[in-house]
Amino acid sequence: VEPWGPEPEPGPSAQYDLSGARAALLLAVTQGRLGAQHDVEALGGLCQALGFETTLRTDPTAQTFQEEMAQFRKRLDAHRGPVSCALVALMAHGGPQGQLLGADGQERQLEVLVQELSHCGALRGRPKIFLLQACRGGEQAPGPPWRPASCCPSSPHPALSLSGLVVHLLQKRWLRAPPATPFQADVLHVCTDVQGCVAY
């Protein structure tokens, strides 16, 4: 099947074909996040056990977050054979408006990083897994009203839904050039906490 071409409508019991290559990108800030190395080791081991060609970058700066995502996409697009699945794990401190903090304390918007893979032709119609281990606010559940946490920067801007922003951005592309498969399709996001809450 051409990556940009039409695909047969999946039946209710259909399963993704994972016979091609699998690639994982693990970006983890460990500075100032005690114990984060345990997560890096556990997740890295799992990815390798599941056959993912794994790239690990620890303590990326905010700029490196973006550059690594761009390079990951380029590697996938340049891959000789078919790519059947991609997994991206982002582990860092985060904020209520979908920011991720690099090791340098600078911010990057999560949706910008996620959007990078929506441009990846090799992954069109292929499953994309995003794992986010980061605070998404200062709220504790169940708990008192919002209280600033040291790991979560405050912002003067009103809270926006991360999923809403992602969908909005992706929809804009969808409207410009309708592909065979919507850009929003085939994505699994798993966040360690709900919007606005701290990650324990």
Binding site: H38, D39, A141, L188, V190
Partner: protein
């Protein structure tokens, strides 16, 4: 997280290793069930808190990693 890693990542790894042939979306639901059962200490270590994952899927097929 300081001692053993985060509840989310550690539970996810444990659940996926236990049943890697199952549908990933179902496995994530199980991860969330287990994470929601855990009591965690708040930042001041004076109160017990709960965590809950957020799972969003636009998958169109079953996704089984093995």
């Amino acid at each position: 997280r300081d001692e053993k890693g985060s509840d989310f990542i550690q539970t996810l790894v444990e659940v996926l290793r236990a049943d890697p042939k199952a549908d990933l979306l179902e496995l994530m639901t199980e991860v969330n069930r287990q994470v929601c059962e855990l009591d965690v200490l708040g930042p001041d270590c004076d109160d017990r808190r709960k965590a809950c994952l957020e799972i969003r899927s636009s998958l169109r097929r079953r996704l089984c990693l093995q």
